[in-house]
């Protein structure tokens, strides 16, 4: 596995992250076991970054990930990226940014990342609190972010 420094963080993460968004809310026991096996297998491949959200599978994804990682001795080496979901979209950016900055200060989360924000939204957010990573939709058939190009030059000056 190849590793890279993630955004403006000090974290070395695998170039491939495990996305739990496909974990479904209608899963049976067999699916749950396979999901758990998939997480174990990912760890064995050297994947150390897991992407999840409260909303994925109506909470199932977070729960399954928590269960799979809880008992592991190397839990401290695993990085979880999670999201508060829609709640954030309806809250003014300064409140969200401040709340997340507080969580960093309290040691409850290590870094703040933005998901599905464009460069402008990111800049607004960055005026009120730290931003360390950005997770935009980007793949062969979705390339709009290339036009906004959130280079390090447009990263908010706040970064600690």
């Amino acid at each position: 596995m190849r590793y890279a420094r993630l955004g403006q963080t000090d974290l070395q993460v695998s170039a491939i992250a495990f996305g739990t968004w496909a974990f479904g809310g209608d899963w049976g026991t067999a699916d749950l076991e396979e999901g758990q096996d998939a997480i174990e297998y990912a760890l064995s491949l050297g994947i150390n970054l897991f992407d999840t959200a409260q909303g994925y599978g109506f909470g199932l994804a977070e729960e399954l990930l928590g269960r799979a990682l809880r008992e592991r001795a190397d839990r401290e080496d695993v990085i979880i990226a999670t999201k508060g979901g829609l709640r954030m979209l309806h809250t003014p950016p300064q409140e969200t940014a401040q709340a997340l900055a507080d969580l960093v200060a309290e040691g409850k989360i290590r870094h703040v990342g933005l998901s599905n924000y464009d460069a402008d939204q990111m800049e607004t957010f960055g005026r009120f609190g730290p931003v360390h990573t950005l997770q935009p939709p980007y793949h062969l058939f979705r390339r709009e972010i290339e036009n906004t190009r959130p280079s390090t030059a447009t990263w908010p000056s706040w970064s600690s």
Partner: protein
């Protein structure tokens, strides 16, 4: 899509591997998030971290994509 499949086949890689390698080829990208419901899904895509696409490869993909009609599958962005 057919053309992309052919492109991948010629390089002995699968379409999902091509998709992941292409995303990681952008220097602004540090990580590609790959969904998996069962272990088998990862065998293929995790290996794509070590694939390198050359400049001519990327150019060729761009040319194929110009004519491509976006294909929408299940995606996490709306979740």
């Amino acid at each position: 899509m057919e053309q992309l499949k052919e492109f991948a086949q010629q390089r002995d890689i699968t379409l999902p591997q091509l998709a992941v390698a292409w995303t990681l080829a952008n220097p602004a990208v540090h990580v590609a998030i790959v969904g998996a419901r069962r272990p088998g899904h990862l065998t293929e895509t995790a290996a794509a971290a070590d694939l390198t696409l050359s400049e001519p490869d990327l150019k060729e993909i761009d040319e194929i994509l110009i004519d491509a009609v976006p294909v929408w599958g299940p995606h996490p962005e709306g979740m």
